[in-house]
Amino acid sequence: MMLPYFPIDLEKSFDDLFEYQKKFIHGIDVLLNLKDTESNKTPKELFYKEDKMKVFHYKPLAKKVSKVPTLIIYALVNRQYMMDIQQDRSVIKNLLELGLDLYIIDWGYPTAQDKYVTLEDYIDVYIENTVNEILKRTDSTKVNIIGVCQGGTFSAIYTALNPEKVKNLVTMVTPIDFEAGRKAKDGYLFKWSKDMNVDNLVDTYGVIPGEFLNGGFDFLKPFQLMLNKYVSIVDNLENPDTAANFIRMEKWILDSPDQSGEAFRRFIKELYQENRLIKGTFDIGGRVVDLKKITMPVLTICGDEDHIVPPESTRPLLDYVGSKDKELVSYPIGHIGMYVSSKSHHVIAPKIAEWLLKREK
């Protein structure tokens, strides 16, 4: 029913509103009776532990399992179980079924006493000891590394410093060229961090609250992430599976560990602000990180719609590494969609598994 002098469909508008109210009430009922909202359910066992870091080994799910162990290095921001958010869309489960032998680092939750943990500790101690332990216990000479987001930056740094221990390197939505990220259309985090007084922040807080980072991420798309997400979910809340998935994602988004101050200081200052990795002036424990020393096969994956790590900051890795076998793959998805979308299940995970298995020999 259109109003004669005012072209608005009033009847449909009312119908929509009533429908929304009905869905909302049903949705509340569904939420009250949700049972399974857990993530991180793919079977695994504790493999190694050091300080707050835990390394898990997933139980293989394929008949034929890769002989080269693959270590997933996740970011310090948020938690690694995003890759195993729900069983029907688990990147981890998918990779296991496709034949990979997977290990994953869980960085844990830094507390006040971890304020002095440095980037050297993360790369030269925790990652180094994990890799050594995997090599020792699997009797291997090399590992594959899949680096995710900031974990990808750590992976590239570790690999450049220890190329003899890494067989293949995969980086996913990984910031490498921070200046390029700043110039990208959606590179707000890169832009905002340029003027940030990180010294004052770290000196005052010691350990940077996870809420601080979460607030920053939400602010990148204020209407979409703080309003529309909660308005539009009502349309699908009647479906218990959709409701459960939504709750899992919400739990994961808000599960944001605090950041060790000293590591955060250097990451922001020397990488986000000074772009030292690309300039070749970044060092770990006095050893300069030269990306040219990465000579093994490299696969770089980026999301065309990634607003957290724009593809502009990810792609340049391939220009700086010394590898001859290198490949760039990009998908029309965002940062989170890389791990939880149907594309991640049907396209991305198979691509990674296939690429690694092909280079096993």
């Binding site: 006493q113 832009k191 807080y205």
Partner: protein, 365 residues
């Protein structure tokens, strides 16, 4: 007697002068030359010009009276005359100051700072050169010292308030504009206000403090200053955000009206909601990409961090007499723990290495 004679002589002299002035005045209005040229005896067409001779005469008349009274006062009741004379002076000087005041605040090119400077100086001069005269001699010196100190303190106050005086006009204009709906003006107003505050009252909170409770008081002051700075920065931030929101809303209304005319408007509320939030998101993204916003968001963060830092420090100082470890105590402990952890890690590595060497040695032997 000679004084009396002098006075009489001067009196006649002044009378004569008085007639001369009068004659001159008439000559200015209509000169003999004008008469010769047949010019009619009409009042000067330029009113101000026509007043000038009168003003000149009045001025000279005052000067004459001044001389006259001074001379009289030398002869009769010198003290009383002098006091009357000074009283008139004060009245006249005060009138001049008032006149300046009126000119300053009504003139097109009014300059409040120059006026204030002049006013203070004139007023002090007025006090020191006129009023003191009425005081008993013993107190006069004391009063002069007092005025000196007063002068010093007004100088300091003036220096302190200078940024406000300097920006008062701009602040007033910006506020007026923002009240009438200019959103940029409000942001500029907040920015300027913050600037003026930091360079004036803000300094008070960072002033060195003495006495036994110096540390606590200093921390309190710093904490208050940091909270004010934080609130000010947040005001600027929210004003910037609100500006985008308002502008976007105005744009949405305008575009919606145009769409209504063309018939391509969102037909239901749901469609309108979609259109509304996407327009807003796009507007904020435009703001987020600017260097100004980048700087502003860093300022907000820094101001918030500074406030926390100062407040934490104040809390620690307040709690230090209670039997609880403070954050500083814990930090020291964490540092020791971290050092020890690193040492243990290095020693462990060394032990493993030594064990390996020993094992290899045994195998070889």
């Amino acid at each position: 007697m000679s004084e009396n004679m002098d006075f009489m002589e001067m009196y006649f002299e002044n009378q004569k002068k008085m007639f001369d002035y009068w004659q001159d005045l008439m000559n200015v209005v209509v000169t003999p030359k004008d008469k010769a040229q047949g010019k009619k005896e009409e009042p000067n067409s330029d009113f101000e010009e026509s007043l000038r001779p009168t003003q000149e005469m009045t001025k000279q008349w005052f000067e004459f009276n001044d001389q006259y009274l001074k001379n009289i006062s030398k002869v009769f009741f010198p003290l009383q005359f002098n006091k009357i004379f000074s009283g008139a002076n004060i009245y006249q000087n005060l009138y001049e100051i008032w006149e300046d005041l009126i000119k300053t605040f009504t003139g097109k090119d009014s300059d409040p700072i120059t006026f204030c400077n002049k006013w203070i100086k004139d007023y002090q001069k007025l006090l020191s050169s006129n009023f003191i005269f009425y005081l008993p001699e013993q107190v006069q010196n004391f009063s002069k010292k007092f005025i000196e100190i007063y002068s010093l303190s007004t100088d300091t106050s003036q220096k302190f308030l200078h940024p406000w005086l300097e920006g008062s006009q701009t602040l007033q204009n910006l506020l007026t504009k923002s009240i009438t709906g200019d959103k940029t003006a409000y942001i500029e107003f907040v920015k300027l206000w913050n600037e003026k505050f930091s360079s004036t009252y803000g300094k008070i909170f960072n002033m060195p403090i003495f006495s036994m409770n110096r540390e606590l008081m200093q921390k309190q002051m710093h904490s208050i200053n940091a909270s004010i700075n934080f609130i000010n920065t947040m005001s600027e931030f929210f004003a910037t955000m609100a500006k985008v929101s308002q502008e976007t809303f105005e744009k949405i209304i305008k575009d919606y009206q145009e769409m209504l005319v063309k018939g391509n408007n969102p037909k239901t509320f749901k469609e309108f909601y979609e259109y509304w939030w996407k327009q807003n998101e796009a507007a904020y993204h435009k703001l987020f990409g600017t260097d100004e916003f980048s700087k502003l968001i860093s300022q907000v963060m820094d101001a918030g961090v500074n406030f926390k830092k100062e407040f934490d420090s104040l809390l620690e100082n307040t709690l230090k007499f209670l039997p609880y470890p403070t954050r500083t105590d814990m930090d020291s402990l964490y540092r020791t723990l971290d050092d020890l952890k690193r040492e243990v890690r290095a020693l462990k590595k060394e032990v493993i290495m030594l064990k390996e060497i020993k094992a290899n040695t045994v195998t070889i032997s």
